[in-house]
Amino acid sequence: MNNALKISLRFFLFWIMQVLVFNQLEFGFGIHLMIYPLFVMLLPFDIGIFPLLLLGFGLGISIDAFSDTFGLHASSLLMMAYFRPIIFKFFAQREGYDPLKEPSLFDMGTRWYTLVYGSLLFIHHFWFFLIEIFRINELFWILQNTVLSIVFSFSVSLLILTLISRKSRSK
């Protein structure tokens, strides 16, 4: 499929899913289910840093406009987009990344996906709750929110990943 078309389709899909479905779910215990970081995760390996930051900011602000958070999602998704190349570099294999592959579970293997997506989700969620709560004496509550939400977001992202992505090429 054409790359630009695929990205815009996914942009719309993640936006509508987050706004209409996952923002409406309430679990208690401070759990906030966010699946849209998967969009930034799944962008191609060879995407430039400026489009990456802009896409992250754009998706964040579109979700903000529909959930009365006024810039909170944009800020945290931007943070994650900025750290994506750094984390990718840190966990790179010896021969680097194949630009034809997709940074997903099926192309890169379970271990790589769990480590990379886990760290990116931690950056995103921790920043989100830090800015939202914004009190240093509630650090424990921030961490509890972060860890519980990561568990939920990661599992639901896995389900969505199996729906929208499959092995790009069978070698």
Partner: protein, 280 residues
């Protein structure tokens, strides 16, 4: 000069990132305090419409609960009608009571979008300027106080609910009559706190918490909740009062916006208070 250009060259990614980050954070902070740029909130036409469609789909799930709530309210109102009162004094007929004048009017509406798990929860309702809703009007449901109007558009409004950090509605604890400010600590959507209650008075569990009606936003005596627990705050002569809200905000649908017809009069006279100390 060349060094400056080299600096920008080197850090251009970080500078771009910092620029966007500052943009997002400054927007977040300004919106929290004042709704200046309204087009980004969910009261705008597109998102309001979207949430109306969604609400049309999902509102029927709670229909039986909503109906019984309305029925309870009807029963309470029926009981106050003249036909359900027993006449004690035959022969005395009251005509057109001029002692009372209408002070509050109520505009009915429905909640079309709401959250309860965030630190600051805002509700979108399907009535707006066209129906006479203005900023800083009160909102309540048959079971309890809901919040204050935060911003409005033509057909929709956003309510700053009691589930926000600094909602600060003035309340009294009956039967003692203590005054305090309603707060929320962001933990549980059924529990709130009251700040500013000095600890020289005993507060029995289960005391009713009602609105005080001091700021003219709410009438006096609307239900807020009941006292659940009272803790001592270390190092301060204050109680930390935990209350249970009487309204279940997670299933809230029908609300009324309260319009105070005498608000201007009250504000006019309160202008005369000398400003020698800080006011809330």
């Amino acid at each position: 000069m060349r060094k400056l250009i080299a600096f920008f060259e080197r850090f251009r990614v970080f500078l771009f990132f910092a620029f966007l980050q500052i943009l997002a954070l400054s927007m977040y902070i300004t919106y929290l305090s004042f709704p200046r740029l309204q087009f980004l909130t969910s009261a705008n036409a597109i998102s309001g419409q979207l949430y109306s469609w969604e609400h049309d789909l999902t509102k029927h799930f709670n229909l039986s609960d909503e109906n019984s709530k309305l029925q309870d309210e009807n029963i309470a109102l029926q009981a106050k009608l003249p036909k359900s009162l027993f006449r004690l004094n035959n022969g005395i007929i009251k005509i057109n009571d001029s002692i009372y004048r209408q002070q509050y009017e109520y505009i009915p509406g429905e909640v079309v979008n709401s959250t309860v798990t965030k630190r600051n929860n805002y509700f979108t309702i399907n009535i707006g300027e066209k129906h006479g809703v203005k900023r800083l009007m009160g909102v309540y449901s048959p079971n309890g106080v809901v919040g204050v109007i935060h911003s409005t558009s033509e057909h929709y409004s956003i309510v700053k609910s009691v589930l926000t950090k600094d909602i600060n509605i003035d309340v009294t604890i009956e039967p003692i009559g203590l005054f305090g400010l309603l707060k929320w600590d962001g933990r549980h959507p059924t529990r709130g706190n009251i700040a500013g209650i000095s600890n020289d008075l005993k507060i029995p569990r289960g005391s009713k918490v009602l609105t005080r009606g001091g700021s003219g936003i709410f009438p006096k005596g609307l239900m807020v909740g009941t006292v659940d627990a009272v803790y001592a705050i270390e190092g301060e002569a204050l109680w930390d009062v935990v209350i249970t809200y009487s309204e279940e905000y997670r299933t809230l649908q029908r609300i009324y916006v309260i319009k105070n017809l005498m608000l201007e009069e009250q504000q006019q006279i309160e202008k005369g208070i000398p400003e020698d100390k800080e006011e809330r």
